[in-house]
């Protein structure tokens, strides 16, 4: 909300500079987000009068002007064509730094010195709505009565400072100059200077000219006044300047005043050309289904019964609280004005404003809440200004239609409660002073604080609200010096990580130690990822956002693969060709679509590598899984995005899948512009949580030596190492200690489709030293078993 320093001064004596004031407002909960100095670009610009114009001797298009600045004279060379001898103009002198970025210094134009430049309205940052003639394409011609040599900011009244104040949603009463001025009074302990509500009425009563029928509960109060013999004209300069300062275009005196009161009092007003009100009746009602209205933003909207309109006997004239229609608006031909000051239900205005996508200064206030009494104050302030400017004859007796008048409420609490909430003791005198300054009538009896809350402070409801009012005015800096022992009056509680975080940290650390870097991705994705990933199962059904920013992030991912492959691909395109990444994140699986209940969220750790080979990558994946107590084995994976021959699932005895890893499918590699050798893995963290704690049963170490034998066998290629090792283990029986594959060899000599597998077998007996014969016998059994089950032969 924009207010100006000078405007605030109408209602409160301010001694502090604008900067100090901004700091104090911020400290009291009204953050000044920006300060705009109207004259930031008007220094070194003065009012001058062109005394004499001569042609430049060496340039056809240039003229040499002698300019009087009152005390001194300067020479300006110009190419402007709209100047004349005697014209009063803005003159920018060396040092000026104009709004359009032009910096002025002394210069020579074709050999003749120029002391500066004449300015256009644009160069001063103003247009026609601020001053007639300011929009012309040429030099701004000023009124003759401007004082020569005066700085232009003073001359034009552009010496105010605009504050852009962030009004929090709990303080709709402060969406006005008056509201903020009242806060300033409370901060400084000053008296609020009431605006003038005085006006003179002439002639009949308003109700003789106009009838109001309030037919909807969404209109809480409707007040109207009638002004006859209206003279529509441009606004006086002071009015234009104030509206200009807060960014509102000047239109005519009546419309400008409604806007002025909106900003000053926070009450939206609407002015109708009364002769356009059919049947002289204003009807506040829900729109008819499909009822159309053309409004001032040049659009036509089709409304429904939930939208409130201000209508006459025939048509909707205004979308209530949002925007006025074109038919009944004020024009130069208007002679009788009907003025509206209403209070609407904030939800109704909010819904309509959202639905049609129109936000105005009026709707912005209504949807945050305009309080009941505001209508009366706003209307009377408007009439007082109409009277002051002599715009027309105000009919007596305003029309006022409402159901109930909300009463002031009283909060009673103990001072101790306020101390307990704040944790600091604030003197009772200070409490009384602060609350009174905020317009709250209060007294303290013993320890009981009784506070009568004015109607416009609907946000104040209990002791907590009062505690905040007290401390924000008292100053939160009181806490700067408070050093209180941590939780000294509270129960001791046991802190701790949740199971998921514990396990996630363990696995993440294992991956970091294996050379992986952690990535972070949006959990949002485009709708077509399952096609790109060759996924054909339920993961194709994704949760869609109703109001996405763009299609690329319109769905919730059902797999981690898209994010990881995209990250690898990004790195690949920027030249990072060898990368190991992992990501900890969630997927979101709907139970049904459209969603009727929350989807299942699953925690995963995904991994990707464009650096490792399958075996290295597998070691890293299993290093992660091995952080848990899961007993698992590997089976071939049939994940669509993995290469069917070069991938595996980590499964338990029941075939439950805990992780999948391997080379990505060649089609997927193509879809993501990744090398075919790219590796991807995903570990289902949630499924592993039950296995997060490892326990160990330590067996005593045998006193007798371990015996080793190496064994190389030749088998068909498709026989797996795991099967061979299992067979060796089982054939060794109870003296088995360990088996390791230490070499794989393939050659033409061995024959096509055959491989040699060399194992190191360790045997141990807990009770005795194994003899050579015993060992030889066991190895014989092993060979026999391998031959029988897998057709293996000794190499």
């Amino acid at each position: 909300m924009k207010v100006t320093y000078n405007w605030l001064k109408d209602f409160v004596d301010i001694q502090d500079s604008p900067e100090e004031l901004a700091q104090k407002l911020t400290n009291a909960g009204f953050e000044v987000e920006e300060m705009i100095y109207q004259n930031a670009h008007l220094h070194h610009v003065k009012v001058g009068k062109i005394v004499k114009i001569q042609k430049h001797p060496d340039a056809d298009k240039l003229q040499i002007c002698q300019v009087s600045l009152g005390d001194e004279n300067v020479q300006i060379i110009t190419a402007a064509t709209n100047i004349f001898e005697g014209a009063v103009v803005p003159v920018s002198l060396p040092g000026a730094d104009l709004a359009n970025g032009v910096k002025i210094q002394k210069s020579k134009l074709r050999g003749v010195e120029s002391d500066g430049m004449f300015c256009s309205g644009e160069e001063l940052g103003i247009d026609d709505s601020f001053m007639q003639g300011a929009s012309v394409n040429g030099i701004l011609i000023l009124p003759d009565d401007f004082v020569l040599g005066q700085n232009i900011d003073k001359a034009l009244g552009l010496d105010d400072v605009v504050f852009d104040v962030n009004i929090t949603p709990n303080r709709p009463d402060c969406m006005s100059v008056v509201g903020i001025a009242k806060e300033i009074c409370a901060i400084y302990g000053k008296q609020f200077k009431q605006p003038s509500y005085k006006y003179i009425t002439i002639g009949d009563r308003a109700s003789d000219h106009l009838t109001v029928e309030r037919k909807s509960n969404a209109c809480l109060r409707y007040m109207a006044a009638v002004i006859k013999n209206v003279k529509i004209a441009p606004s006086p300069n002071w009015l234009k300047r104030r509206l200009f300062a807060v960014g509102i275009k000047s239109i005519n005196n009546v419309v400008d005043l409604t806007n002025y009161v909106l900003i000053e009092m926070g009450q939206p007003l609407h002015a109708f050309d009364k002769k356009m009100i059919a049947g002289d009746t204003i009807i506040i009602r829900g729109a008819h289904e499909g009822e159309k209205i053309s409004v001032l933003n040049h659009n036509t909207y089709s409304l429904s019964p939930s939208d409130l309109v201000i209508a006459d006997k025939q048509k909707a004239m205004v979308i209530a609280g949002v925007i006025g229609g074109t038919q009944s608006c004020i024009t130069d031909a208007t002679t009788t004005v009907a003025l509206e000051a209403a209070v609407f239900d904030l939800k109704s205005i909010r819904l309509t404003s959202r639905k049609i996508g129109v936000r105005t200064d009026s709707s912005a206030r209504y949807e945050k809440g305009v309080y009941f009494g505001s209508a009366e104050q706003g209307l009377k302030r408007m009439l007082s200004l109409v009277c002051e400017l002599g715009i027309g004859d105000i009919m007596g007796g305003v029309i006022d239609s409402f159901d109930y008048n909300p009463l002031e409420k009283t909060i009673e609490c103990s001072c101790k409660e306020i101390y307990d909430i704040l944790g600091v003791e604030i003197a009772k005198d200070d409490i009384l002073r602060i609350l009174t300054g905020l317009g709250i009538n209060c007294k303290i009896n013993g320890d009981t604080l009784t506070a009568v809350i004015p109607a416009y402070r609907e946000d104040l409801q209990n002791a907590y609200d009062l505690a905040e009012e007290i401390i924000r005015i008292y100053g939160y800096d009181v806490y700067d010096n408070i050093t209180k022992p941590l939780f000294d009056k509270s129960a001791v509680t046991q802190g701790g990580l949740d199971d998921k975080t514990q396990l996630e940290r363990k696995i993440k650390n294992a991956l970091v130690f294996n050379g992986f870097y952690e990535a972070l991705n949006y959990s949002l994705c485009p709708p077509d990822i399952c096609e790109r990933l060759n996924i054909q199962d339920n993961r194709r059904f994704m949760v869609k956002i109703a109001n996405p920013i763009g299609e690329e992030i319109s769905c919730l991912r059902t797999t981690m693969a898209h994010s990881m492959l995209s990250s690898l691909a990004y790195n690949f395109t920027v030249g990072n060709k060898h990368v190991n990444l992992f990501e900890a994140g969630r997927t979101y699986s709907p139970k049904s679509l459209p969603l009727s209940e929350l989807p299942t969220e699953t925690n995963w750790i995904s991994m990707g590598s464009t650096q490792m080979d399958f075996a290295e990558f597998k070691a890293c994946v299993l290093a992660g899984v091995d952080e848990t107590a899961l007993k698992y084995h590997l089976v071939r994976s049939n994940q669509g995005f993995l290469h069917p021959g070069i991938s595996a699932d980590v499964v338990d005895g029941n075939g439950e899948i805990y992780a999948s890893f391997g080379r990505i499918h060649p089609l997927v590699a193509k879809n993501y512009d990744l090398p075919k050798t790219t590796l991807y893995a995903e570990i289902n963290l949630d499924k592993l949580i039950p296995y997060k704690d490892k326990t160990f049963v330590v067996k005593p170490i045998s006193k007798f030596p371990i015996v080793e034998r190496d064994l190389a066998i030749v088998v068909k290629d498709e026989i797996s190492n795991a099967d061979l090792m299992a067979a060796i283990k089982s054939a060794c029986g109870k003296i088995f200690y360990e088996v390791k594959l230490f070499d794989i060899y393939r050659s033409a000599d061995l024959g096509e489709g055959l491989k040699s597998m060399a194992y190191n077998i360790k045997l141990s007996d807990e009770c005795k030293t194994l003899t050579d014969e015993e060992v030889t016998e066991v190895i014989g059994k092993v060979l026999k078993a391998l031959k029988f089950r897998y057709g293996a032969s000794l190499r």
Binding site: G423, Y464, Y588
Partner: protein
């Protein structure tokens, strides 16, 4: 015989002094002490001595033998040392050659910051609680005193899935869920991912927050201050100060913005803190009693405080990261700097 022995002793010492390598030393050892050695020869001659002289001469022989052995040992030690030094001088490797196996990777800056924040809170008695990211309107808004169609909804641009299901716009949603199931007193933090319909250099549609909630008897704004000072000092260093500024959140009353000593300039004022010496980092306040009641906690008996902040921002401030989008780009040249 004794004379002969003494001569032999002197001769041996002279010879030993000239020995310059291990081979010569070994030859020397054989020459004097070997089976056919000079000293052994003398010993053999003892048979011819009278019985009474034998012990005297025998002792002398042993003495000479011992002397020679000691000298040999000392010489041997000398040679061994020289030999070892030679070998050591020869055997060295280029210690700057790359190691085998994988270089260590690194956690994302966000995770590093989360770990720091979470561990600090756990030490103060907070439990970690997570909640769903796809959330009911009720937990994200209504239970937190933000009714439907209320202007305070405008404070956040929310992604909706249906009328009642949305992507949580704040981790505060976990507050209400926790209060419904946990009995006071408790302290919880909830780190996690949140979503807002907003995207530019300083806003990401996906970002991360950490929410804290304490519910107990006798909780005040002063406890909030003490706890946040502790947390911010653990995060940014022991000299860190915080200050409160009034603000508004529907679920806290009073509500404050919390400014923290700018970690970059340590409070002296710099470009990042716009010369103020402070950075706006957290929102906090006393839990609105309406929220306690809505979640089934007796607001006459219990009071709470809550705080929340953007973890991405903390990570960015702590690591001098200027563009939030670089946090999600996963460029390895970015991630490697976190090692």
């Amino acid at each position: 015989m004794q004379e002969k022995l003494q001569q032999l002793s002197i001769q041996a010492k002279t010879e030993l002094n000239q020995i310059a390598d291990a081979v010569a030393l070994n030859n020397f050892k054989v020459k004097y002490l070997g089976k056919q050695g000079l000293l052994t020869e003398i010993l053999r001659g003892m048979r011819d001595l009278p019985a009474e002289q034998r012990p005297v001469v025998g002792a002398l022989v042993n003495q000479v033998r011992q002397e020679i052995e000691e000298q040999i040992a000392s010489k041997q030690e000398q040679f061994d040392k020289i030999q070892l030094e030679k070998e050591l001088a020869k055997n060295y490797i280029d210690i700057t050659e790359p190691a085998k196996g994988h270089e260590k990777g690194a956690l994302h800056p966000l995770s590093q910051v989360f770990e720091l924040l979470i561990d600090s809170c756990v030490n103060m008695g907070f439990k970690v609680v997570e909640g769903p990211e796809v959330e009911l309107d009720y937990y994200n808004f209504e239970a937190l005193n933000i009714p439907k169609n209320h202007p305070s909804r405008d404070m956040q641009d929310t992604f909706f899935i249906t009328d009642n299901i949305l992507l949580r716009s704040q981790t505060s949603s976990v507050q209400a869920r926790t209060m419904q199931v946990m009995k006071p007193p408790f302290k919880i933090i909830s780190p996690g991912r949140v979503y807002r319909n907003d995207s530019d250099a300083t806003h990401s549609p996906v970002f991360h927050q950490m929410e804290g909630l304490v519910v107990d008897e006798n909780i005040s704004m002063a406890d909030l201050k003490a706890m946040l000072v502790e947390l911010m000092r653990k995060t940014f260093g022991e000299q860190t100060q915080i200050r409160f500024r009034p603000s508004f959140f529907p679920f806290t009353e009073p509500s404050v913005e919390v400014d923290v000593t700018c970690p970059t300039c340590r409070g002296s004022g710099c470009r990042l803190c716009k010369g103020t010496g402070y950075m706006e980092l957290l929102g906090a306040g006393i839990v609105n009693p309406k929220v306690l009641e809505e979640c089934g906690i007796d607001s006459k008996k219990y009071r709470g405080f809550a705080f929340g902040f953007g973890a991405d921002r903390v990570a960015m401030v702590k690591n001098s990261i200027s563009d939030i989008r670089s946090m999600f780009r996963n460029d390895i040249r970015f991630l490697k700097q976190m090692k």
